[in-house]
Symmetry: C2
Subunit: 351 residues, 2 copies
């Protein structure tokens, strides 16, 4: 976990011996290595190379956002949500942070033989509830069944289409030295909630997943911030650390954060201390990070804090000219540390 | 397998005891029952109720087609193709038979821990090759890894977006008594190829999967047939029998076919005889069925036969006023039989 971000770009071992490890799905350094060494070269095209949360596509006069995510979370149900809620909110969020109004979703299900209908029904009901809440429709679907032991209960794969207004331009290339980094609320809630549910830890102070649709919050930010908005992302797998590293690497700028400025629930901090996790590496499912020009900070923060999902929004750092491609944090003790892409598999099947 | 189509609409047993069976993924009667009893009521909306291969969506002046499919085929590699080829061609075909020009795909991968990189690379290369061949781009993706034994090697989930010209109107409601049914070539090739590869049967006369992109063939049909084209579909899981039953049920019309007119390769027929399968129930991955007005038949057939994927196109039957909702076939011996939705699990994990 303490390797440098640039050494994480390499996959170990000779190609013929390499096998997929759990850490390749972590959202951290190994995921980045797999994507940059195997997947991007295979599908080489400029839209995919952007590695944004959603592709931005031009169709005549219309700009579309298009995204997909597979959900394999274990357990299926956890405090604050379930795989169905997660699958719908997650795809809505990928569209929202790309500047799009989410419109339509598709849902593919891969079901293990023997799954009780009651569980499938509950997952479908959660999906529909989340879709209705966000005003999107699930318009296409597919269902596959595999024999017992060839999948784990049910996997849900959602894809989504949204519309992007022509005036909206977001991207790491717009990040400028002096820009401020804002996070919309507490980090690490989702990862810890799922871990506690899975391992049946008894931790005082129950933690709930933060799964939530960010489309309203994102739309408000775009309205309040105008061209002062540089880029948005929802820090899911790999947590805030992964998202900030991705920003720094693609923008070729440094990012400096104040660790004490990052909102973390006491129960999440306690669980992280106990389990040896850094809250910056733990997954979120209802938070966004936005990089904004200094002059836009005040109006954006005001707007965010008026929305329930942004009530605890905080400025956590800024874009710097030094150490391009890296993220540094000032600790509570005043020391500086490097915030790396997490390298190991912290929390498998977290989403 | 010999139950009536209408009895297939019911799921057996009290709700609290029901569990997903392999046959719920067969594409036959049990799949239909699962979809109509559980999934459609959960996601209730008119676009999904159409049960088309792709949703048809209006965005300003633009008409979009949107579709998704999960691929869980076993084995990953089989004569004529692999899971990557299948996943790309299958989604292209769902767009094409909906009257759309395929434009963009997304790809989600669910990978089992321990999968050799070499296998993943081969699958990715097949996907890219198929996408390039059809002129579509894979613009969005996601990769998840699950522990050993929680998935089987790799599942590939593709979604796709296409553009539909405003003039194109297809649907079962356009089917008219006297319309002809055309199939673009031999049926059952894919299902038998996968089964032979999986079970390592040694059957004389190797059968290859027919996996192929149907966008050119479909575009040609639409150009040659104009408003004479009623509906198109690619008969995948559940085979030609499922597709024709879906047509008959949604159109509330009868369908009558001549069994001897349906093209079947001798090796496929031999394998079906040996294994007790009806070629009409066996999956295809590079064939389409189109219902056309009598006056358009000649120009459409001429056009289809000029394309390599339609060289063996044949008129196999017609739309009738009697027995609405059912499909009947005249056998080689001149007897009439009911062609039902296949009810059991013929070939699990065929796509």
């Amino acid at each position: 976990m303490k390797d440098r971000a640039d050494s994480s770009r390499q996959l170990p071992g000779p190609p013929e011996e390499r096998r997929i490890q759990l850490s390749h799905g972590s959202g951290g350094g190994m995921s980045h290595a797999l994507i940059s060494e195997l997947i991007l070269p295979a599908f080489d095209n400029p839209e995919l190379r952007r590695l944004a949360d959603a592709a931005c596509l031009n169709l005549g006069d219309t700009r579309l956002a298009f995204t997909t995510d597979a959900y394999v979370v274990d357990p299926l149900f956890f405090p604050g949500g379930d795989i169905g809620t997660l699958a719908v909110n997650g795809t809505i969020n990928d569209l929202a942070v790309s500047g799009a109004t989410p419109l339509w979703l598709s849902a593919s299900l891969i079901i293990e033989e023997g799954l009780p209908f009651s569980i499938l029904s509950a997952v479908l009901a959660s999906m529909q509830k989340a879709a209705q809440y966000a005003g999107v429709q699930i318009v296409a679907g597919d269902t596959k069944v595999v024999p017992r032991g060839k999948a784990d209960k049910v996997f849900v794969i959602t894809s989504g289409i949204g519309r992007i207004e022509r005036s909206i331009q977001l991207g790491p290339e717009r990040m400028t030295v002096g820009d401020k980094i804002i996070v919309s609320g507490t980090v690490g809630d989702h990862g810890i909630a799922v871990l506690v549910a899975r391992e049946a830890f008894s931790l005082s102070g129950a933690v709930e997943s933060d799964t939530a649709p960010l489309h309203e919050l994102a739309a408000g930010i775009l309205r309040d911030g105008g061209t002062g908005i540089r880029i948005m992302r929802d820090p899911t797998r790999g947590g805030l650390a992964s998202t900030l590293n991705e920003f720094a690497l693609s923008a070729h700028k440094g990012i400096r954060i104040e660790e004490t400025a990052v909102p973390v629930r006491p129960a999440v901090r306690a669980a992280c201390d106990l389990l040896g996790f850094d809250p910056l590496n733990v997954a979120n499912e209802g938070k966004l990070v936005v990089v904004v020009a200094p002059e836009a900070v005040e109006s954006i923060l005001d707007g965010m804090r008026r929305h329930p999902l942004g009530a605890e929004a905080a400025i956590i750092g800024e874009v710097t000219p030094d150490r391009p491609g890296t993220v540094t944090a000032r600790t509570a003790l005043g020391a500086w540390r490097l915030v790396d892409l997490p390298m190991g598999e912290l929390l498998p099947r977290i989403c």
